[in-house]
């Protein structure tokens, strides 16, 4: 693209402002009649694309158990130290599971590193962005709040498989 040289002097028509002002007014008037972009939030909700990084959740298999093997990598990589994992043993085929898995949502910065580092695809970012707490205790998300059926997260898991 060739650089357009700026004219030093304005033409007479530009100097008297009026045609330019009329142009500007016509533009704003045209925009008044155009459809609106506003989303009426509590009634209409924004459904994010799969690339969206919302609240991190634990994947729950169809049999109701978590995928997580409590390796603790997410907890290690978490920059604001929001994740706490405590491992325990079971007699099942997967011998380890997290007896406690807690994310402090006041600390979480939604960087997605936990998801990236997870060897089991066990922790993924969901589409949930409605995170408001009235006290600090509510912001500690335990396993009960984190476990999400795998069906609801399929979008994100496919996205990760394609682009990670």
């Amino acid at each position: 693209m060739a650089l357009k040289r700026r004219k030093k002097d304005l033409t007479f028509l530009e100097k008297i402002y009026i045609p330019e002002i009329a142009k500007g007014l016509a533009l704003t008037f045209k925009n008044m009649l155009k459809p609106k972009f506003t989303m009426q939030y509590p009634e209409e909700k924004f459904i994010p694309p799969p690339s969206y990084r919302g609240r991190p959740v634990l994947v729950m298999e169809e049999n109701g158990l978590e995928r997580c093997v409590a390796c603790g990598l997410c907890s290690r990589v978490c920059p604001p130290l929001a994740i706490e994992v405590q491992a325990a043993e079971t007699d099942r085929e997967k011998e380890r599971y997290p007896i406690k898995f807690e994310i402090n949502m006041l600390r979480c910065i939604f960087c997605g590193l936990c998801e990236e580092v997870c060897p089991e695809e066990a922790i993924v970012m969901s589409k949930d962005y409605e995170l408001a707490f009235t006290n600090r205790k509510d912001a500690l998300y335990g396993k009960d709040k984190l476990l999400t059926p795998v069906k609801q997260l399929q979008d994100r898991i496919n996205f990760l498989r394609n682009y990670k």
Partner: protein, 343 residues
């Protein structure tokens, strides 16, 4: 009519006019927000009341409940006086602007103007010049450099544009040969609108009115990006609301004045030839006036959301080097009209 009846009618008219101005101002704030939203492809306030119609009342309530903060460095009496002057000026100016023809009430012929003064236009000019004091004093008494800059800008701007405003009115006065607003309106019967006879004067007056009301593109006294908030930086609570209301009331008055001086006032072209009864004639006239004022108000708001602010030197250049000569030229043009066409 004896003196008592005149007083009663005047008080009733004052009450009606003040109520209308207050309502118009609250809805102006609402429409300012709505039109700005539409121009930016948004919806605007729509939660409080039907389509957000009660939004401005909620805002006023909020401002009433807020703490009134007066800075330590402020000159307290003047700091309090400034918003009062602003409100006083914007509400009293309306007294001389006619909003309809004479009507018959209980057998009396009542003119639809609060005070039919024979120096009405001088009164308007005097009061609008007084409006500068509100802003300048507010800026000076706040004890803050941004407020002071806003106040100084305002006084310089108002003085520059008062001149072209006065000279543009000169053209109108030459044609109507009267300073009485009622007669100025009557002189514009039919399509003899001053805006059509002297378009240059109309444009200079319109631009000066924008500058006088401190509306964009001439809102240098408040210029948010440069001066924080300009003259009302240090104001809060109801004192701030006073300036806010005064600004919108000024806009309303400027529109009413432009309609009176240039757009035929309350007159619907050739309405007296339709053979209507007196009552209907008055009703249609008042509605005509309201529509003309509303259209101008829409224009004021529309311009605000379309045009960027002028630089200070551009503002002064425009005022002294363009508007002033143009308004003089307009007077010569009107003189030629009178000489050649014997208007």
């Amino acid at each position: 009519m004896n003196i008592l009846q005149i007083i009663i009618f005047t008080i009733v008219k004052i009450l009606i006019v003040v109520t209308i101005i207050l309502l118009a101002v609250t809805y102006l704030v609402y429409f300012e927000r709505k039109i700005s939203a539409w121009a930016q492809n948004r919806i605007g306030p729509n939660r409080v009341g039907w389509h957000g119609a009660l939004q401005s009342f909620a805002d006023v309530l909020k401002l009433l409940l807020k703490e009134d903060i007066v800075p330590d460095a402020a000159n307290k009496p003047i700091h309090t006086l400034a918003p009062i002057i602003a409100l006083f000026v914007s509400f009293t100016t309306y007294a001389v602007i006619p909003f309809g023809p004479n009507i018959n009430v209980f057998g009396f012929s009542v003119p639809l103007v609060v005070a039919d003064v024979n120096i009405g236009i001088l009164y308007v000019l005097a009061l609008t010049s007084l409006g500068v004091y509100a802003i300048t004093l507010a800026g000076w008494s706040s004890g803050s450099k941004y407020s002071l800059l806003g106040g100084i800008r305002s006084s310089a701007q108002m003085i520059s544009y008062e001149i072209s405003m006065g000279f543009s009115i000169g053209g109108v006065l030459l044609l109507s040969q009267s300073l009485r607003p009622v007669e100025i309106v009557q002189a514009q019967s039919g399509w003899m609108w001053n805006a059509i006879l002297q378009p240059v004067g109309f444009i200079t007056f319109l631009v000066s009115a924008f500058a006088e009301t401190n509306r964009l593109p001439f809102d240098l006294p408040e210029a948010e990006p440069e001066l924080v908030g300009g003259y009302h930086t240090e104001y809060s609570s109801m004192k701030f609301a006073g300036f806010f209301l005064a600004e919108y009331a000024n806009m309303f008055i400027a529109s009413a004045l432009i309609v009176t001086l240039y757009l035929g006032g309350w007159q619907f072209p050739y309405l007296d030839h339709f053979g209507l009864s007196n009552g209907w004639f008055a009703v249609i006239s008042v509605i005509t006036f309201a529509i003309k004022v509303a259209a101008l108000l829409f224009f004021f708001i529309w311009v605000r959301w379309s045009i960027p602010r002028f630089r200070y030197d551009q503002l002064m250049n425009l005022g002294w080097k363009v508007m002033f000569p143009l308004s003089l030229l307009n007077i010569i043009w009107v003189a030629v009209l009178i000489m050649v066409f014997k208007l």
